[in-house]
């Protein structure tokens, strides 16, 4: 595999010669029609409590199971759920997402998740990122495998980007993927050093290092043009502080710079709310704070990208849901099925997708958790196939050959 990759890289070098602009760069600059579709995956680490995120207020059992931490049904004041369809409502802290839902751009899938029964954060995150529940030895991630094959064309060095200090599990694999903590720091710390290193790596007989060296300096130069401008989000969009807002802002910067981004990954932690998930009133407390930041970050991204959002789809996920019953500490423990959001692109929003399994005791999974009716790969698979245009899903989810699309995207 390595050999084939190296061959492609070196043949690219041979065609364009030292100093010539690589083809993908020329394309990106000259042909706006070659604008890539972009898929952004957001991981909520720690297992978010889906039942308090998208609240099944139409179901009485929800209130029986959660006597002190339930979100009240709509129209019970500011701290009640925001009605979506007469049965489900958004947590009040997610108000910034409601206009996107109303514009039919935000789709919600409920009772979705990984079929693997594990309640270990470690294992469940691993499975969701590898895209192979129950199989630990998978070395690459689904988002890396999701990249559409494009043989023969030199690919952008920032085609796949993971925001954060190390490459996310979901993005590891055969395709070149870059971890970027901060766009402004993606460079050799010193300009003289940079030019010397570039000459060294361009001229070395060491094929492997010269190939990657070229990619590295290509990417660094791209970043330089981005770094040169201070970034002002469009349309007055305000990204909140914290990891997710900053990550999404950098992704927006990359998308708008037209540097060939195709897939991006961002994550945000803190969702493991065993204790005091909900504060004195339903609209405050740990979960409300986290969701407030989460909603603002996603909404800012949507606003910032404006029309460009047509090319972009964002999908959110978390390793598993939480117990349907509240525990003795005004919190919830590790559960099973959860909720996912998808917005942007051609997504048919304004709807809560998925079969609702119900919350009656006999309807719960193992008598404790929301049961699963949609496999997370059905959602991701549909986005990969219809949005990214990679219809070879057996390569993306090798052990899941019959995904059931929910119709999130027309086509």
């Amino acid at each position: 595999m390595t050999t084939r990759r190296l061959f492609l890289k070196s043949s690219g070098l041979a065609i364009f010669g030292v100093g010539a602009a690589p083809m993908w760069l020329a394309r990106a600059a000259d042909a706006p029609s070659a604008r890539k579709k972009v898929l952004v995956a957001v991981f909520q680490r720690g297992a978010v409590d889906g039942l308090n995120v998208v609240v099944p207020f139409g179901e009485k059992n929800y209130y029986t199971l959660r006597p002190t931490i339930a979100i009240p049904a709509p129209k019970a004041g500011e701290e009640s759920a925001i009605d979506l369809d007469g049965f489900f409502g958004l947590h009040p802290a997610l108000a910034p997402l409601k206009p996107i839902y109303d514009a039919h751009k935000l789709a919600i899938v409920h009772a979705v998740g990984s079929p693997d029964p594990t309640r270990s954060h470690f294992d469940a995150q691993d499975y969701m990122e590898s895209g192979t529940p129950g199989r630990k030895a998978t070395t690459d991630g689904w988002l890396n495998r999701a990249l559409p094959p494009s043989p023969g064309i030199r690919k952008s060095p920032v085609r796949a980007v993971s925001l954060g200090p190390s490459l996310a599990r979901a993005l590891r694999g055969q395709n070149e993927a870059v971890a970027i903590n901060n766009l402004d720091e993606f460079k050799v710390s010193d300009a003289d050093g940079a030019s010397t290193f570039e000459r060294m790596y361009a001229s070395t007989l060491d094929k492997m290092l010269s190939g990657t060296g070229r990619e590295t300096f290509d990417a660094a130069k791209l970043m330089q043009s981005i770094q040169a401008q201070t970034y002002t989000p469009a349309d007055g969009a305000k990204y909140p502080g914290g990891r997710l807002g900053q990550s999404l802002m950098q992704i927006a910067r990359l998308i708008k710079a037209d540097v060939g981004l195709e897939v991006a990954f961002a994550d945000v932690g803190g969702w493991d709310t065993h204790v005091n998930e909900v504060g004195q009133t339903p609209g405050v407390g740990q979960l409300a704070n986290l969701l407030g930041n989460f909603g603002q970050a996603l909404a800012a991204f949507y606003q910032d990208l404006g029309d460009r959002m047509e090319d972009v789809a964002v999908v959110t996920m978390s390793e598993f849901g939480r117990t349907a019953r509240e525990n003795g500490n005004r919190g919830t423990d590790h559960g099973h099925a959860n909720v996912m959001f998808a917005f942007g692109g051609g997504i048919r929003g304004g709807k809560v997708y998925g079969d609702w399994p119900g919350l009656a005791p006999e309807q719960l999974y193992q008598n404790r958790d929301l049961a699963l009716t949609t496999d997370f790969r059905d959602v991701l698979g549909e986005l990969v196939a219809k949005h990214l245009g990679n219809r070879q899903l057996t390569g993306v989810f090798p052990e899941y050959t019959q995904p059931k699309f929910r119709g999130l995207i027309g086509v």
Binding site: S120, T139, V178, A179, V188, G193, A194, M200, Y201, S210
Partner: protein, 588 residues
């Protein structure tokens, strides 16, 4: 030498069998593969002793006098020597702290540990009750302990000024000062203070993280300073082979004991002993879930009715065969996985979240007959069932091949010659899995000393950074910032999430972000911008050719030297930094 490099490049491309290395090449090749990079003087020392004899010494670490400087560096890293239970008591995690807060565990006696615990309890209480958000008041406020000038010196002074302020504080007041420091300032001071005080400051900030600090620091000091370099390489190799992810729950406390007692004593011993030690280790039992695996129908619902009834867990059984012994194509079936899992039922941990030890629980063992890889294991074998499985696996020819190939990939080349693997596998079988003998067969082979193998490996991030420190003779007083750099380059120590461990393939380590990180580390080390490490820049004032020889211990490629503009002398890109970041330095 330049000619030879060109010749070796041709052979690398063709993958043809190749002539032997010259004497000088043999020396640098052996040093590059058996150590974490040569130090000044190493080439001469190996030449004096003779390569063969030197390799034999490295294969017998017990015969090599250890570097006294290493013992000094390891002395403060207390958690590396503690038992599992003591580690947890000394560096309490949030659960333990909650237990102390609830009165179920005694308050620690050591004043600093106690202050650390009290702080976390206070923080926990603040979270619990939003109304109670009073900031924590230290017993004695900082401005009662230090003058305004002293506090300013700590906040904004140079490293030397900070050290002077600290030095002027009477010993009897030091604990109070450490406790009174605001968290941000405490972190800032870490690199300026002596190890003992540094530990106090870290303990007060995040007690449970000290264990991870100690592990990384210990690993780095050993790799940089130990005279028993091959032994350290083997510890790295086998830990990675039997990889355990440090941040999975209880493993935060179990890993130091795991490395010290299950891995280290066996790295050049019998494979069966190493396999057995890892199989029984609480760290592995927890990581791959075997501690929760019970025979069908043996689990009883106890107390907590919300907990689902447990059953057979196949994780360990599968990885044991796929990753630890036979290899994925080693000839086992799903049926074998289930049968092995049945044999291992009852191998569990006593109180896993409190640093418990191995414990065989006969009550949950599947007592029926099993068949593993065609071998019948009679009913009623109890704890011995799993021992029999380990015997079968350790003796299996697939294991001999799989382990031999993996060793050759680490020490010889990504795609080692089949002849070499066969020779090693035969030794493995003939010598009953004696790792030292297998290593000897490899390290004395023609394939090891071939042009094909010469410089064929890209350094892992750990190797790159340690070799840079060793080559430049940089003094390391605080190794943790180096561990951060290694993580930046893509290899967070003890934190490989997947049980596969890190790959030894060159392609794993060569990507854009990692390459940039390597260049930036090289420049930072050369400018003394890596906190805690210091090199003597005046040693590297020669010509590019001379400095290249100092850090590469051979001539640089002509292309590398040609890329260096002799007219430009940049303080931010000193020669030694450029050469540490060069393509030449990335290979070993």
């Amino acid at each position: 030498m330049r000619k030879l490099l060109a010749v070796s490049a041709v052979f690398l491309c063709l993958g043809a069998s190749s002539p032997k290395l010259s004497k000088d090449e043999q020396i640098i090749h052996a040093l590059n593969r058996l150590t974490f990079g040569p130090r000044p003087g190493d080439i001469e020392a190996v030449r004096r002793m003779g390569v063969k004899k030197w390799i034999d010494f490295q294969l017998h670490p017990e015969r090599i006098a250890e570097n006294p400087a290493l013992a000094q560096k390891l002395a403060p890293l207390e958690s590396l020597r503690l038992s599992q239970a003591d580690t947890e008591r000394t560096y309490p995690n949030p659960q333990m702290i909650r237990a102390i807060a609830a009165g179920r565990q005694p308050m620690p006696e050591d004043p600093v540990t106690r202050a650390a615990v009290e702080r976390v309890i206070q923080r926990f209480k603040i979270k619990k009750d939003a109304a109670d958000n009073r900031p924590l008041e230290p017993a004695v406020a900082l401005n009662q302990l230090l003058t305004r000038e002293q506090i300013r010196g700590l906040r904004t002074g140079t490293v030397e000024q900070k050290r002077a302020v600290i030095a002027a504080i009477p010993e009897s007041q030091m604990d109070d000062v450490a406790i009174a420091l605001p968290p941000g300032l405490r972190l800032q001071l870490l690199t300026a203070v002596e190890p003992a005080l540094r530990r106090k400051l870290m303990l007060l900030t995040a007690p449970q993280q000290l264990v991870a600090f100690d592990l990384s620091e210990g690993k780095l000091y050993r790799a940089i300073l130990s005279n028993r370099q091959l032994e350290e390489h083997m510890v790295d190799f086998w830990y990675n082979h039997f990889s355990v992810f440090l941040d999975k729950g209880a493993d935060r406390y179990l890993v130091p004991t795991y490395e010290r007692e299950a891995i280290r004593p066996h790295v050049l011993g019998k494979f069966r002993n190493l396999l057995g030690a890892t199989a029984k280790s609480p760290a592995m039992l927890f990581f791959l879930d075997n501690w929760e695996s019970v025979g069908p129908g043996t689990a009883q619902r106890r107390g907590n009715a919300k907990r689902p009834v447990r059953g057979l867990n196949e994780n360990y059984a599968r990885e044991l065969m796929e990753l630890h012994t036979l290899g994925v194509d080693g000839g086992y079936t799903q049926k074998d996985v289930t049968e092995v899992a049945r044999c291992f039922t009852g191998w569990t941990i006593r109180l896993p979240r409190q640093g418990g030890d191995f414990f065989y629980n006969d009550r949950v063992h599947d007592k029926g007959e099993k068949t593993v890889l065609g071998v019948k294991i009679a009913a009623g074998g109890g704890q011995d069932d799993a021992e029999k499985v380990l015997d079968i696996l350790a003796r299996h020819p697939s294991t001999a091949r799989f382990i031999s190939k993996k060793l050759a990939q680490r020490f010889v080349a990504d795609d080692p010659p089949q002849r070499l693997i066969d020779k090693m596998a035969k030794t493995f079988r003939d010598k009953n899995g004696d790792i030292r003998e297998v290593m000897k067969a490899m390290l004395t082979s023609d394939e090891f000393f071939s042009q094909t193998a010469y410089r064929a490996k890209v350094k892992t991030p750990f190797e790159m950074i340690v070799s840079a420190v060793r080559a430049t003779g940089a003094q390391v007083d605080f190794a943790f910032p180096l561990a951060r750099q290694i993580a930046n380059l893509g290899e967070p120590l003890y934190r490989k999430l997947e049980p596969t461990g890190y790959s030894d393939a060159n392609s794993e380590w060569v990507n854009s972000a990692a390459l940039l990180a390597r260049m930036n580390f090289a420049l930072a080390l050369a400018q003394n911008k890596v906190p805690g490490s210091k090199l003597d820049a005046s040693l590297f004032n020669g010509s590019p050719e001379e400095v290249a020889r100092q850090v590469l211990f051979t001539d640089a490629q002509p292309e590398t030297l040609a890329a260096i503009d002799k007219q430009v002398k940049s303080a931010k890109a000193p020669l030694v930094g450029l050469l540490l970041g060069s393509p030449d330095f990335q290979r070993r």
